[in-house]
Symmetry: none
Subunit: 189 residues, 4 copies
C-alpha cells in the first residue's frame, strides 16, 4: 500500500467518524502515518481530499451493485438485489461508508461543497433503480407507477434507513431486512 493510498483510506475513516468540519488535515496525516505536508502534496486541499475519498467509496459501491444485480431475471428481482446489496455494502464498509453519506448530495454536512460533481455520480445509482422499474413494468413484476418519482422515493427510503442505522441513537433490530420488504410491498405487482 502506497502512502498515497494510506492517506485516502485514513481520510475515508476520519471523515466517516468526524464529519467534514470535524476532520483536520493533521488527524488524517497522523492516522495515515505521514507528514501533514504529504497530504497536500497528493490531494491539494481538504475539499479535494474529501471528494477523492467520497468518490472512491461510491465507485466501489457502483461496481459492486452492477455485479450483484447482473444475473437477475425480473425487474422486481433486480430491485430487491439492489436494495439488499446497497445495505450489505454499508455494513461491509462500516468505517468508511459514512464518508459517502457525508459527501452525498443528500448530506447536510457542508452546504458550500460542490455537489454538482458528486451529484452526477449518485445520479447513476438512481438511474439503476429507474432501469429496474422500467424492466419490471414491462415484464409485469412491477405495478404501473410513475417511474422517476418512485425511483427517487426508493432511494430516499434507503438513504433514510441507512441514516437511521449509522447516525441515529435509535436501535431498531431488523430495520434493514424490513426496508426491502417495505419498498417491494409498495412497488411490486
Amino acid at each position: 500500500m502506497t502512502k498515497k493510498d494510506k492517506i485516502l483510506l485514513a481520510a475515508q475513516e476520519i471523515f466517516a467518524r468526524c464529519g467534514y468540519a470535524g476532520t483536520t488535515m493533521k488527524m488524517v496525516a497522523e492516522q495515515a502515518g505521514v507528514a501533514s505536508g504529504l497530504v497536500f502534496h497528493y490531494y491539494d486541499s481538504k475539499e479535494n481530499l474529501f471528494m477523492a475519498a467520497g468518490s472512491e467509496v461510491i465507485d466501489t459501491m457502483i461496481a459492486d451493485l452492477r455485479e450483484k444485480t447482473a444475473g437477475c431475471v425480473t425487474g422486481c428481482d433486480a430491485l430487491g438485489e439492489f436494495i439488499k446489496g446497497y445495505l450489505e455494502f454499508t455494513l461491509e464498509n462500516k468505517t468508511t461508508f459514512p464518508t459517502m453519506i457525508r459527501c452525498s448530495p443528500f448530506s447536510d454536512d457542508n452546504p458550500d461543497l460542490d455537489r454538482e460533481r458528486i451529484g452526477a455520480k449518485f445520479r447513476r445509482l438512481i438511474d439503476m433503480i429507474e432501469e429496474f422499474l422500467n424492466r419490471g413494468i414491462e415484464d409485469g413484476s412491477i405495478a404501473e407507477i410513475p417511474v422517476t418519482q418512485t425511483a427517487f422515493l426508493i432511494y430516499a427510503s434507503i438513504v433514510g434507513a441507512v441514516r437511521t442505522r449509522f447516525l441515529t441513537p435509535y436501535d431498531v433490530p431488523g430495520l434493514y431486512d424490513e426496508t426491502r420488504r417495505f419498498i417491494l410491498r409498495s412497488v411490486c405487482a
Copy 2:
C-alpha cells in the same frame, strides 16, 4: 419581538442556510441586529443556541401535526394526514426548517453534537406514527406489519424525501405528493 426572539429566529435562518460549522456567532448577531455579546448572554454557547433553535422548530411542528391529525378516524387516514402535514410544514418554513434537518438525529452535520436530548423529541414523531399504525391495524385500515420497524421506515422515507427536496440539486416534480402514495401503498390494507 424581543431581542432574545430576534436572536433565535436569526439563528434558525443562518443555521438553516450555512450549517452548524458554517455559522458563526457573529453572523447570527448581525442578522439579529444585536451585539455578539448578547447572543452569549441569552444562549451561553453556540451548541446551546443550535439546540434551542432546533427545538423551537420541532416543538412547533409537533403541535402543528397533533392538530392536523386530531380529527382523523382511521389509522390510515391519520397516517396520511401526518405525512401530508409534515411535508407541508417543510414548505411553509422553507428558511428555518433546514435547521431541524441539521440538528435532527439523522443529520450528518456534526457528529460531536449531543443529540440525545433532541433525539428524544424526534422520538415523539416516530411514536405518533406507531400510534397510527396500531390504531390502523385494530380498525383494519392498515395491514399486519411489524409496527416499530415500519414506523421508522415511514419516517426514514419522509426524511429521505425532504432531503431530496431541500439539499439535493435534483429537481423531481411531484415528489412530495408521490411520497404519501408510496408509503400508504406499502402499509394500508
Copy 3:
C-alpha cells in the same frame, strides 16, 4: 494611546525593520503588546495593515512638507525647502520611515501589492515638485526645462539618496546636504 494606535505604530516599526514578507502578524502583536486576534479585529489582513501603516506615514509627511514650504517666495526656494524637508523627515522618523519606502510605488518589496491606491498618494508629492518648477520658471528662478520629467527625476534623486542612506551598507557623509545642491545645480537658473 489606544491599542489600535499601538498596533499601527508597532506595524510601522516592524515593517520598517523587517520588510513586508519578513514581518509576521505575531511580531506586530507582540511589539504592540496585544493578542494577535486584535490586530485582525482592527486591520482585517496583513496587506491592509501594511497599507494603513504606510498611508499614515505619508499623510504625516505631506502635511509636514506643505507647512515647511508654505512661506517660500520663489519656486527655487520652495523646491530647496521641499528637498530639505523631505530628507529631514526621514531622519526624524528613522524607525518608521522605511515603511513608507517599502509601501511606495518605487518599492521592490512586494510585486503583488496594490500600488494603484498608494501610487495616487505619492503622486501628490511629485505634483508639489511640478508646482514649484512651474512657479520657478515663471519667476525666473528655474531654467526652462521639461517640467514633468524633471519633477520625476528630482523625486527619483531624492528616493535614490534616501535608499542609499537607509538600506545600503555604504557610509557617505554629507550625502543629504549634497543632494540638495546636486539637484538645484541642475534646475536653477
Copy 4:
C-alpha cells in the same frame, strides 16, 4: 544550454517578476523544466540561487559598460556613455534586469539577505563613476565638486529613474533621455 544554465536563467526571470519572497523553488524548477531537487543540487539554497542570479546580471552589465565607455575621451563623455549604457542595458534585459534591482544594496526586498558580497560588486559601478568624475575634473569637462558624494548621487539618480520605469505605475515618456541631461547639467563644466 546546460540544465544548470537553464535554472539560472529561470531564476533570473522569476525573481524579476515575483520578487524574492514571491518566488518559490518549485516555480524556478518548473520554468527551467527540471525537477526541484536539481535546483538544490546546483545552487544549495534559495538565497544562494538569488545571489547567483543577481551576480550574473551585474557581471554582464559591468563588462558591457566597460566596453561602452572604453573609447571616451573626456570624463564628461565617459559619464554620459555610462548613464546611457546603464539605462540601455535595463531595456535590453527587461525580463531579467529586475532581479538585479532586487538583489542590489538599494533594494528593500529582504532586509535579512546578506548583501555584503553583492554590495562589493555594486561598489565597482560607483567606482567607475568616481573615476570618470576625477578624469573630468582634470580635463576640465567636469566642475569642481565633491567626487564621492556626487558619484553616489549620480548613481542614486539612475537607480531612482530605473525604479520609476520598472516598478512604478507612472508612465513618464522621455524619462530615460532626460535622466542623462538632468545629471550632466548638474556636474559638467
